[in-house]
Symmetry: C2
């Protein structure tokens, strides 16, 4: 089969379509013919050698896709069934082997390309804000990078759950997009320290910056507030003042979906389909595709995502 | 009435019994004649000026007591009723005003002195390990300072909940006490780096050291592990590597009981009486009193607790 690989291991821009082996099915996996694969920041890290796949996972890049079951293996699935897939790797190939627990139905009314654009963001946002943080009506949520793939989805989902939504973004245009999606408090991080505006006000913060924002994030949390770190774009090491945690009973968590066990991923997938898919079906939460590229142009898609000029998601199509 | 106060604000050893005003009742409070008051590390900090009472609370030291209702105020309680009390302050006095939600029955078979020795440790351990961390059978819990007031109680409670219990302490004698209380893994922190023994094994850590242990605590956590910091005896500021949190989905929390709202304290008290009092009544969990002192000798009690030579609790008696 064909798949995207680095032709030069030291050059993350050397992604190209090459001939490689079709995946062998393990027990409980189905073989999916990929129609579309979402592009994630983790994919950029993997191309740079910083985010190796977990043991046993495909070496091929790609954390989500949608396509058609080509071989149901030992599962009771049907050949020809359309599915969306949460992947530990392998989305950037012609075929991918997927554990049955990571298969999702295509949201009602969605094309395969649209489905590939929502798998990772839906599972990430729901598993963190819904399952882990227990977001409730009336709470205030801060979403960093509000105009990105995660952000555009999280704003809508939080509004549907009855939260007040604050966002940061780096331009007036991006903030306008956030506003249109429902965000209530808009902060341009290039012009303003978000923690001055939000001191003690946030029940939950969904963070992608890590070290760079830690102090400001803690300052922004309300009593019993939770900081959930899902990305480390602003570095990993910094000073923490633990004395800030105790009086307000603050929580700092770090999570990543990819490292979860098969059982853990299956649980996230089940809960996401149950709680989020109905919101997609009737349009209360919408996908937000910035652009699509042919799979062969994965390098260009990575370059665009890396530029910071993307609003929403990029999707590769077979 | 008489109460313990600093006769020299700059000298934490100047605690002495002086004449002061009897507390005025607010709506929903009862006046309790104190029979016995537990000594806590927070009391030592307050005597040093480092742990001021929350707004509206008594300026008098003392976070727990047991005694007899002298004036039920606007509540429906009976004068003469024996009660144990979780306090935001005021335990080191002849009388203390207590919000009704912070009154607990005397555990079956307990004297007032024994009751005063379990209020804070029971509420602290249960609110953190039971209510917050959701400790489950089969999990592994690390308790730092296993021979202290919190530690001696936490070991027994965790064993009753079906956990494997690891402890740290600073002497063979203290570790032997921990073993007798049920601890499974004994670590002398003066001789051994606990994180080498426990790398990746702990589901929950109850920490009193803060900055000094942060790195080792994170190293000791298993997947989905939770570090709960309730004391900062090893300092407040240190470096954190947030990259350690994400792959194992680690949680770092800080909590303190004293800063909770009235509603929050009442909820903790209710849940503690419901879940822990039955274990005290039938002796499955026992109080552990190291020594009692007359209230007038509070300074000597503080000095002893500060020495690190205490196993279990110190109690002051009227």
């Amino acid at each position: 089969m064909k798949a995207i690989e680095l032709t030069d291991q030291d050059d993350p821009r050397s992604l190209a379509l090459v001939e490689t082996d079709t995946p062998q099915l393990q027990d409980g996996e189905v073989l999916v013919k990929v129609h579309a694969a979402g592009v994630n920041r983790g994919d950029l890290l993997q191309a740079r050698g910083h985010y190796p796949p977990p043991p046993g996972a495909s070496e091929i890049i790609g954390l989500e896709c949608a396509g058609i079951i080509e071989d149901p293996g030992t599962t009771g699935r049907e050949k020809g069934e359309e599915v969306a897939c949460l992947l530990a790797g392998g989305g950037y190939g012609e075929y991918v082997a997927v554990p049955e627990g990571q298969l999702m139905p295509i949201p009602e009314g969605y094309s395969l390309t649209e489905a590939a654009a929502v798998v990772e963001v839906a599972c990430t946002v729901w598993s963190n804000l819904g399952m882990l943080a227990g977001l409730r009506e009336g709470q205030t949520v801060l979403i960093h990078g509000g105009a990105g793939g995660i952000g555009t989805f999280a704003i809508q989902l939080c509004k549907q759950l009855g939260a007040t939504v604050a966002v940061t973004a780096g331009s007036a245009e991006k903030l306008e997009t956030c506003r249109e999606l429902g965000a209530d408090i808009l902060i341009n991080y290039k012009e303003q320290d978000f923690s001055e505006e939000l001191t003690g006000r946030c029940d939950i913060i969904l963070d992608i910056m890590g070290a760079k924002y830690l102090k400001q994030n803690l300052r922004s949390l309300a009593e019993d507030g939770q900081l959930i770190i899902i990305g480390l774009q602003g570095g990993v090491k910094t000073e923490i003042n633990l004395g800030a945690l105790l009086p307000r009973r603050l929580t700092v968590r770090g999570t990543t979906l990819r490292a979860r066990s098969l059982e853990g991923k299956a649980e996230v997938v089940r809960s996401t389909v149950e709680n989020v898919w109905p919101l997609l079906a009737d349009g209360r939460v919408r996908h937000h595709i910035h652009a699509t590229f042919p799979l062969s142009e994965a390098a260009a898609a990575h370059e665009l995502l890396d530029s910071g000029e993307v609003t929403g998601k990029l999707v590769l199509e077979a």
